[in-house]
Symmetry: C2
Subunit: 256 residues, 2 copies
């Protein structure tokens, strides 16, 4: 690894797993704060607002401000505003407050989040018909599935594929592992991509995506990590760490 | 075209459009019957039983027996029986009677039809979890969308893509344009693939699919046909006809 001047941290699986903080995570975060390195927390979670995510993290004892949290929905809002797009939203009810101030009349874009139960035939058909009129498809990620207590559940990715195929179009993906998403977060850090590092538990979405975007990357063996996940990374340069604490040691080691 | 010894006819768009028979279709069918050529009617419709389809056709005045109708659900039933597979069905309620006699306990395969409103998050998740345990995904077609009175609606294909992506698998498609589906129908005709012709209004699903399977193919300019559709066919040898009547003239011309 080379000199690091900014750090991106994934949330679920890195700072906490389920309803428990990861051991040593609070201490690791405190060490990063002391170092003065700029930090951003970067997540594909699209079932709750940034404020709700911030409250959850502070409930675990992490000192994190809402405006340090970089989310796909925020990136989507910026994208819509820059292009004067009015979204037809297919998102989770928990995320709706984030779009309350966005004009949704006479929609000319389809925005897809991890909508959960809202992914039904009527909603998907409605989105499909707008796509067939030429509206762009904007997706808050591309993940296949996630783990729930009762088993694995479909994430946003399968529904992105469904609508892409139906309307013969390609989605604009604004969550991890999209290069543009990492670059927006790095911009907020105030350094160059190769001076930033991404720490995550998802070999593809977090680490391969970051490496592809020109960042450095550390895969931690907590959360959804499974033995050998690092062999699935098609880019070189990934580092491995037992957990966030060891990842922070690696990062601070580049600054000695 | 070369000597034809068996004929496959698509239904919707060839024999009837909406609630009206195509002009000259009854006469064309009568001429085929007189010629003694074996016929099969081949359809991807998976929202009603074969008996219901037969009744509809006879209501239009066509003399067609149920056992001349070749459907994707029938092909799926045969596929399941040969392999001792017990399906978890994600199909339209109108099709359920066709599977009433099929053992569905302790499912070890996922079967997808054009399920319409039944394509909801709970049903798709249930199918996804079975696929993740290694069950094969069997689909009654691959179509993107179809026309309803209120607009275009999602067909089975987008949901096939969604589940394929989620579970990282490839579906076995048993409707048109699958080669195996055409070959099963040709077997029922009792001739070789190159001695059979497929007549349909869908350039890709009917005609390109048939040509790819080694059959001859005639695209009729009724039903969903749109000017220039023939240029989308990536196989050589397709013939064009104004309608089923002209298609029958072409077919009988090969037998003079």
């Amino acid at each position: 690894m080379t000199g690091i001047y900014g750090v991106l941290l994934d949330l679920s699986g890195v700072l906490y797993v389920g309803s428990e903080p990861v051991e040593g995570a609070a201490e690791a975060l405190a060490r990063l704060r002391t170092s003065g390195l700029p930090l951003r927390f970067i997540t594909n979670t699209t079932r709750s607002t940034r404020e709700a995510i911030g409250n959850k993290l502070r409930g675990f004892g992490f000192e994190i401000a809402d405006d340090e949290i970089f989310t796909a929905p925020a990136a989507v809002r910026a994208y819509l505003a820059e292009r004067d797009l009015r979204p037809q939203l297919l998102i989770h009810p928990g995320l709706a407050p984030e779009f309350a101030a966005v004009d949704q009349r006479d929609a000319n874009a389809v925005v897809l989040g991890d909508a959960g139960e809202t992914f039904d035939y009527a909603h998907l058909n409605r989105a499909f018909r707008l796509l067939m009129e030429g509206a762009p498809l904007i997706a808050m990620g591309d993940n296949r599935y996630f783990a729930e207590e009762e088993g694995l559940s479909l994430d946003i990715g399968p529904f992105v594929r469904a609508l892409e195929y139906a309307a013969d179009t390609n989605a604009i993906v604004l969550g991890k592992p999209a290069t543009g998403f990492f670059h927006s977060a790095v911009e907020a850090l105030g350094c160059k991509p190769h001076e930033a590092v991404m720490v995550g538990d998802d070999a593809i979405s977090d680490v391969e995506g970051a490496l592809r975007a020109g960042l450095q990357g550390i895969l931690v063996k907590t959360g959804k990590y499974r033995e050998g996940d690092e062999t699935r990374i098609d880019e070189s340069g990934a580092r491995l760490a037992q957990n966030i604490y060891e990842a922070v040691e690696l990062i601070l080691g580049t600054r000695d």
